[in-house]
Amino acid sequence: MADTSKVEEPGRRDFLYIATGAFGALGVGVGAWPLIDQMNPDASVKALASIEVDISSVGEGESITVNWRGKPVFVRHRTAAEIKLSVETPLEDLVDPEEDAARAEKPEWLVMVGVCTHLGCIPLGEAGKYNGWFCPCHNSTYDTAGRIRSGPAPKNLEIPKYTFISDTVIKIG
């Protein structure tokens, strides 16, 4: 080694040292990624991503629950009174303000993921102070458009991506 008491300019050895370290870190990252990403949803899970639901048998004031991606989806045929109640609710009364029109493509059909946005329990239908949904786990209350009104849940019930294939069939996902 040369005289170490003087401050040395970075040399070939420093470059090699840093380059080796950087490549080592990159290598560890590349090696670790498959070990982490294997935990994400696999192809067979993703393949079940969309379902078609026949709603012809659901009368006014009735609901059905269908299983989509392992979660319940509520399909509710709302009554005129329910729609009116929701439309007339002022936005400033809402925790997570959203127009009724933004919640339902066709006002009489409300399609929502039936999972409480608090900690994932399934709310009970036609229950609670707002005649919508009530989660028994921690008392979150949703209105007739599935919007959060009271309790610890932070958000409205999620609206999944869905399209009307015909008047009586909905494709969810």
């Binding site: 935990m39 994400n40 696999d42 991606r69 392992g70 608090h118 900690l119 994932g120 329990c121 849940a153």
Partner: protein, 431 residues
């Protein structure tokens, strides 16, 4: 583990091994010749009991895994298969399920003993940190184990707990999906929980070894909270403490097996004998009893993110206790004010445990107008207040009682200690 060993190999084989791997002298130093304070009371047996329970859990767990099927369609029936068909399967499963609870009982007493006698104070901070890490790992292991039978409580408990992670800013949703391996708790979740539930106990065992190592460097604390000064203040680990610990383990095992044989589902929940159903939430979700105080805290805080932060914070704050407590005196025996706050803390923990399993909107113990929610909030405030206000402030203002000169003096009196010291010196010179 730190030079206490008096082991000298006598046989040629012993000498041969000692030169190559001094494992026998290491074990000898840790469990035979290790000097322990002579005044340890029965609250000091719970470390050994916890170690025993860990071994019980590992042994019963390994054999249960030989009969269990970690698949969403088969897990529930495979547990019933263990209960009905497998030779002694009922015994193994009930011992494992109740053993988990009794492991937590031992560990909670062990932690509270450390808090009462100030065992976390210098030079035992690392010992405390490793203990807390064990506790955290136990919580994760216990939770994942509870999911495996794939009953309604398994499924919905898993759903609630994994949803906690959604509050992490920006990546919460991705973390949750990563934990689930799907869009909800399902077969991939069960599979990975089984894998991790098998792995973590061995991680715990590794940290337990570090915990014991960190114990044997400064040695055990004791009820007086003063360090042993002379040989007179200590006794050999074996036979005195090995026998005492074994006796306590036998007593503790009687309690464990009372539950196993006579009341095996006392600490379980009947809903877990209903197969998991992703479309029906049970009307009342409660976690295992050992998480209830923390569950009460999450429910006491009205905001979702803050509630989850409060719950994790309640556990993580325990890690910094050695630095929050400013008192120079370790043992509550000499801290009259701390002693009161400690017992209130203990009672408050039990109260939060009770509140964690009742409806928040109901009246507290039937008292009209006082909801469980209100009491939970008061309990939560005291829980955090104990750590961030009482511990730091009390250490500065409390008038403590005078400490004894030595352990022997406190045990035998000044005259008695002197007489014993002379006797010991005489015996030594004779030898």
């Amino acid at each position: 583990m730190s030079g206490h060993s008096t082991y000298v190999p006598k046989s040629n084989a012993g000498k041969w091994l000692e030169e190559r791997l001094p494992i026998i002298s290491l074990m000898h130093g840790a469990a035979v010749s290790m000097p322990n304070p002579r005044n340890l009371n029965y609250w000091w047996v719970f470390g050994g009991i916890a170690m025993f329970m860990l071994i019980v859990q590992i042994v019963t767990g390994i054999v249960l895994a030989m009969h269990y099927t970690p698949h969403a369609d088969m897990a529930f029936s495979s547990v019933e298969h263990i209960m009905r068909d497998v030779n002694w399967g009922w015994l193994l499963r009930y011992t494992h399920a109740n053993g988990a609870s009794m492991f937590f009982v031992a560990v909670y007493i062990h932690i509270l003993r450390g808090m009462y006698y100030g065992s976390y104070k210098a030079p035992r901070e690392v010992l405390w940190l490793l203990g807390m890490l064990i506790y955290l790992l136990m919580m994760a292991t216990g939770f994942m184990g509870y999911v495996l039978p794939w009953g309604q409580m398994s499924f919905w408990g898993a759903t609630v707990i994994t949803n906690f992670f959604e509050v992490v800013p920006f990546i919460g949703d991705d973390i949750r999906t990563l934990l689930w391996g799907g869009f909800a708790v399902d077969n991939p979740t069960l599979n990975r929980f089984f894998s991790l539930h098998y792995l973590l106990p061995f991680v715990i065992l590794g940290v337990v070894i570090l915990h014991i190592w960190a114990l044997h460097v400064p040695g055990s604390n004791n009820p007086l909270g003063i360090e042993p000064k002379t040989k007179q203040d200590t006794m050999r680990f074996h036979p005195y403490f090995t026998m005492k610990d074994l006796y306590a383990i036998v007593l503790f095992a009687i309690v464990l097996f009372y539950f196993v044989f006579f009341n095996p589902n006392f600490m379980g929940h009947p809903d877990n004998y209903i197969r998991a159903n992703s479309l029906v939430t049970p009307p009342h979700i409660v976690p295992e009893w050992y998480y209830l105080p923390f569950y009460a805290i999450v429910r006491a805080i009205p905001d979702k993110a803050l509630g989850v932060a409060g719950m994790f914070g309640a556990i993580l704050i325990m890690f910094v206790v050695p630095w929050l407590d400013t008192s120079k005196v370790r043992s509550a025996k000499f801290r009259p004010a701390y002693r009161i706050f400690f017992w209130v803390f203990l009672f408050n923990g039990l109260l939060l445990g009770y509140l964690g399993q009742v409806s928040t909107t109901d009246d507290f113990l039937g008292i009209h107008g006082v909801t469980n929610l209100l009491i939970s909030r008061i309990g939560t405030i005291y829980y955090f207040g104990f750590f961030v206000v009482i511990l730091p402030v009390l250490g500065l203002i409390e008038k403590t009682k005078p400490l004894p000169n030595s352990i022997s003096e406190a045990v035998l009196g000044v005259e008695g200690a002197k007489a014993e010291a002379e006797e010991m010196a005489a015996n030594e010179s004779k030898a």
